[in-house]
């Protein structure tokens, strides 16, 4: 049994969360992360299948209980989400503190961008016969080294 209403709520939460996560502002990324986290908790919760009474052993028939296992998972997830949230908030504060002009923007990694420009240097070069001829075995140790790749 799956509730369409809850499914819709979950999908909307995921969509908003993903949308927010694809942003440069760390605040929005974090909010997106929390939304996606809430959506995931709901997803796990829905995996219970059917719901009933609180899973506390008492007089009731155990078959009427809500599934306790997803609940244990979600409980763990809630606290971890809080820990990560606190961590990202600290990151946010730190990046703002160090560079107030950029607020909490996640900047482009310049080193990653450079990969495209360094194509030639990170590929191997060809061995030519002339080069093998010129690789003398007995030379002064100084001239024996050439520039490293």
């Amino acid at each position: 049994m799956m509730s369409v209403v809850l499914l819709i709520a979950m999908v909307v939460m995921y969509a908003s969360g993903f949308y927010l996560m694809m942003d440069r502002s760390l605040t929005r990324i974090l909010l997106g992360f929390i939304l996606a986290g809430n959506a995931t908790n709901l997803l796990i919760f829905m995996m219970s299948g059917s719901f009933g009474k609180a899973p506390i052993v008492g007089n009731d028939d155990t078959r009427d209980y809500s599934d306790p296992l997803p609940q244990a998972f979600i409980l763990t997830a809630i606290v971890i989400t809080f820990g990560i949230t606190a961590f990202i908030l600290a990151l946010m504060y730190r990046s703002w503190f160090l560079d107030k002009a950029n607020e909490d923007t996640v900047l482009v990694d310049e080193e990653d961008k450079e990969i495209a420009l360094t194509t030639e240097t990170i590929t191997l070069e060809e061995v030519l016969d002339t080069e093998v001829e010129q690789s003398h075995e007995f030379q002064d140790s100084d001239s024996e080294t050439d520039s490293a790749v």
Binding site: R28, T76, F87, K113, A116, F138
Partner: protein
């Protein structure tokens, strides 16, 4: 035999310190070790003569048919002896070849002996997989030896090229071996290839894959190019690996295969044609070189082609001649390389355009050179002559039987002429007096001991020429046939063979002399059409594509990365989606779902649209509180409590940080357009929804948690199943979570405090605070006192008056202890009722937040008796000790134990180890909350205060 191989590997390790200590003389023990190994193996001859073979097997991984099986018959014994003796001679030579100052000598010696050991293992291995292991060992060691002078670019590139090409073949061979094993059920080379293999589709594929290994290893067209480039290695390496040892591995494999696989379609034709191409091309290239070493390298390629061609012919006489030629080649090519090394060492050049008057000044070297070259070219009375003549003889006798033998005969004659030609070029080029070149000056004194090695090889070649009566049965034994087919001899009368040989020699010598007159054709265009260049184009293209793809995928932009990840999720799901079953769908299960869902939908969408920080945070919080309501309605009280507490804590934490940041969120997004982001996020969300629906429908087994109620009650001694699950049934999960929480808390503290955790910051002690409050209260009692402002909290008066709220202070004063009591209550009842360590810890954390919010950072400091770091540590320690203690009693980790205490009329108290675990959880959660408050609250306050003090103008504004 396994013993010899292992001893050699051991010796290779020992030789490192020995060479380091003794220099050139340090090479002698290694050389002796190789020689002694050879002698020891030769003592097996009598046994081999009696039984035809010796073998030994040690079990290694019998399940996959991999055993340490070694086998020696005349063929393998001969190859093993060649490997070891040639290795010993060349290693001896190496001792005096390298410069005294050369620090890499020790590494060289060690690698060289390792290589000899691997090669010996390859020759003696009988198990196919063991053969492969040694095969790859020679590949890796040859990579290290070719790249010995790793500081030179050509050397590095050449070694990588050799590695890539031979590993490519090696892997193909492995697949072939596995297929052979599957199709025949055999793993022993000695039994597998003894008789004709049954021709089947699988076997044909297997054999050709194995051949790919042989072709790459032995540098046969189209894989011939790595060998000349590998000449970047030190000359002794070239002499050994590429004349006597490594390239012979491929030849050996073909020797194994031919008797069994010659009936396979295309086997002989493929090898003969590829061998002929290699031979002619290598010979032609050799004739065009000025560099002696490259000349030798191309000549090796050419000779390998010739051997491959002969050994692929399934006639016993041709095979025997081919085997003989293999050994003739080894004893001739190795000294040639060594001579080139001496010339290079002595005169500082290998270029024949610069060498002149070498022979006259260095007669012994010239004699050795002429001897070795003569043997390779097939001059009487050296072993090369015998081998070539027997090959001619056998090919002639079978030439009428098939076109392929006829073709081989013609190619062989042309190849022999080419051999004579480049050997002439070598001899004249290196030793003759050239009129237009001044005598080459000696650049370095070289030890006369260097001459020992090439002279030894040439002596062997010469002596063997007179030992035809011994060679005849030897070749037959190697071939595995019982009768001696070859009729070797230096003089058979003026036969057809001799006429051909003479003609070949005359043509060859003339051609060689002519080649010296002409300018070589060695233009850049020529290099551009070579296979070496083709290989480079191929690998370079791979590199380029990889880099380009990386450049497209890695733009350094986080939104871009997330977009790609989500797009891949969408794509894989859409592409792999097959027919699935939808679950039983119902509109809703509880009427409360409708308003809750509406709340969630509206809040999420508004949160995505909002551009102010505070508003977005609150809207996201709304979705969290909506979940609280849902959990309450659908039977999850523990979740509801925890979610509500965490949501509040999150909100407080958020406010603590964003109070410093600008109100508006600035986000300039260029890399992923808004519409694209919307489409990707909606698509990904819908996919997850669909997956959720499908996976719920796919459930077939009963829920694992059906048994939890009984487990919790009987074994966990608790009624609250969720709590028992956390601290007992699935306590490992909680263990893991605690570590994550501790890591996150430490991360928060270290990001804010930077230098230390900040636990040692000076803070107001409780005693000081208390006495201050006491004084204050005294003043309150005193109606005369003007400062009759009450202190409700310990550090209330540290705040500036305009920032204080008396109402807040009063309320916090009243509820703090109640909250702390509640938190302990939740912790203790958690086992049987909603609550537990998580909820309790969060309540305590909120109580602390209240103190901080009302009284500021000094208040927080005065409130806490234990540092956050210690709390986290104690919590984790408690949990870990609880987890590990059962191990000491022989039980599984985290097994819970119970103490049932009868408290008389108070009832029965069940005190369990899982309660201690839960207390650990409690301490960790409180520690996290405290760390958050200390860092994001107190320390940020202090930073701000410091900043304001430094910039007074900001304050005045």
């Amino acid at each position: 035999m396994a013993l010899v191989v292992s001893l050699l590997f051991l010796g290779s390790i020992l030789s490192f310190p020995i060479v380091k200590r003794f220099g050139a003389r340090g090479f002698l023990p290694g050389s002796a070790l190789l020689l002694i190994s050879a002698v020891w193996l030769l003592t097996k001859i009598s046994q081999i003569k009696q039984f035809g073979y010796v073998k030994e097997t040690y079990s290694w991984i019998p399940e996959i048919g991999l055993n340490l099986s070694f086998y020696a018959d005349p063929l393998r014994l001969s190859f093993a002896t060649l490997t070891l003796v040639a290795g010993a001679i060349i290693l001896f030579y190496s001792g005096w070849y390298f410069d005294k100052k050369d620090e890499s000598r020790a590494r060289f010696s060690s690698l060289f002996i390792s290589f000899a050991a691997a090669m010996l293992g390859l020759v003696l291995a009988d198990n196919l997989y063991l053969f492969f292991v040694f095969w790859e060992a020679t590949t890796v060691l040859s990579f290290l030896l070719i790249g010995h002078k790793y500081k030179i670019r050509a050397s590095r590139s050449a070694s990588i090229q050799a590695l890539v090409v031979t590993t490519f073949g090696g892997l193909a061979m492995l697949v072939g071996i596995v297929l052979l094993h599957i199709s025949t059920g055999q793993t022993l080379i000695s039994t597998l290839f003894r008789f004709d293999l049954e021709v089947s589709g699988l076997a044909i594929v297997a054999i050709f894959l194995v051949l790919l290994g042989a072709l790459t290893k032995s540098a046969i067209f189209p894989f011939h190019f790595w060998l000349p480039d590998a000449m970047a290695a030190p000359t002794p390496v070239s002499a050994y690996l590429h004349a006597a040892a490594m390239v012979k591995a491929g030849i050996l494999l073909v020797i194994y295969l031919t008797p069994a696989a010659a009936s396979f379609p295309g086997y002989t034709v493929t090898l003969v044609i590829l061998g002929a191409i290699t031979m002619l091309w290598g010979g032609y290239r050799s004739l065009n070189q000025y560099d002696l070493k490259l000349m030798m390298a191309h000549s090796t390629v050419s000779q390998l082609g010739m051997l491959m061609m002969l050994l692929a012919i399934p006639h016993d006489a041709v095979r025997q001649a081919g085997l003989l030629l293999t050994f003739a080649h080894a004893v001739s090519k190795a000294p040639l390389f060594l001579i080139v090394g001496i010339i290079d060492h002595h005169f500082g050049t290998r270029d024949i355009r610069e060498l002149s008057m070498v022979g006259r000044r260095y007669p012994l070297l010239a004699i050795a050179g002429v001897g070795a070259a003569g043997s390779l070219a097939g001059l009487m009375p050296l072993i090369g002559f015998l081998a070539k003549e027997s090959a001619l003889n056998s090919l002639l006798s079978y030439s009428g039987s098939s076109t392929i033998v006829m073709f081989t005969l013609i190619a062989f004659i042309v190849g022999s002429a080419l051999t004579a030609a480049y050997m002439t070029r070598f001899v004249l080029g290196s030793f003759s007096k050239k009129n237009d070149v001044p005598p080459t000056p000696t650049s370095r004194k070289s030890s006369s001991l260097l001459l020992v090695a090439p002279l030894t090889f040439v002596s062997i070649a010469l002596a063997a020429g007179f030992l035809s009566t011994f060679l005849e049965p030897w070749a037959a034994a190697m071939s595995g046939s019982t009768e001696t087919t070859l009729k070797l001899g230096l003089w058979h009368g003026f036969s057809v063979e001799l006429q051909i040989t003479l003609a070949v020699l005359i043509v060859g010598i003339l051609l060689g002399m002519l080649s010296l007159r002409l300018k070589s054709i060695r233009s850049q265009r020529f290099e551009n059409i070579s296979f070496s260049h083709g290989y480079w184009r191929l690998t370079h293209t791979f590199d380029l594509v990889a880099v380009r793809v990386t450049a497209i995928a890695q733009r350094g932009s986080l939104p871009w990365y997330l977009g790609i990840i989500l797009a891949v999720v969408i794509a894989t799901q859409v592409l792999t989606e097959t027919a699935f079953e939808l679950p039983q769908m119902t509109f809703l299960q509880h009427p409360a779902e409708v308003p809750i869902a509406i709340l969630i939908v509206l809040a999420s969408i508004r949160a995505a649209q909002s551009t102010t920080r505070f508003k977005s945070v609150v809207l996201v919080g709304v979705t969290g509180y909506a979940l609280v309501a849902l959990f309450v309605m659908l039977g999850a009280p523990d979740l509801a409590i925890t979610q509500a507490l965490v949501e509040t804590m999150t909100l407080i934490t958020f406010i603590l940080v964003i109070r410093k940041l600008p109100i508006k969120i600035v986000s300039n997004m260029k890399i992923v357009p808004k519409l694209v982001r919307i489409i990707i996020s909606i698509a990904a969300a819908v996919i997850i929804g669909a997956l959720a629906a499908v996976s719920l429908a796919a459930r077939q087994a009963p829920k694992i948690s059906d048994a939890f109620a009984e487990l919790a009650y009987k074994f966990g001694h608790g009624l609250n199943i969720v709590n028992v699950t956390l601290v007992d049934i699935r306590a490992w999960d909680t263990m893991g979570e605690l570590s994550v929480v501790v890591a996150a808390a430490t991360g928060v503290a270290s990001l804010i405090f930077i230098v230390s955790r900040g636990d040692n910051l000076p803070k107001m002690s409780r005693k000081d605070a208390r006495s201050r409050v006491q004084k204050q209260l005294m003043r309150v009692l005193d109606p005369e006192d003007e400062t009759r402002k009450s202190e409700w909290l310990l550090a209330g008066n540290t705040l500036q008056p305009q920032r204080r709220s008396i109402i807040l202070e009063v309320v916090v004063r009243l509820i703090f202890h109640a909250l702390m009591l509640l938190s302990i209550y939740l912790l203790l009842v958690g086992h049987n009722a909603p609550g537990g360590g998580f909820a309790g810890g969060l309540v305590a954390g909120l109580a602390l937040s209240a103190r901080y919010l009302a009284g500021g950072r000094h208040e927080l400091g005065a409130t806490t008796v234990i540092d956050a770091g210690r709390l986290l540590g104690v919590g984790l320690l408690l949990a870990t000790v609880t987890a590990l203690t059962p191990l000491f009693f022989g039980e599984a980790a985290l097994t819970s134990r119970w103490l049932e205490i009868n408290l008389g009329f108070l009832g029965q108290l069940d005190l369990g180890t899982s309660t201690i675990f839960d207390i650990g959880v409690y301490a960790v959660v409180v520690g996290l909350a405290l760390d958050v408050l200390r860092s994001l609250g107190a320390q940020i306050d202090e930073n701000e205060e410091n900043r304001l003090e430094e910039q007074p103008e900001v304050q005045s504004r």
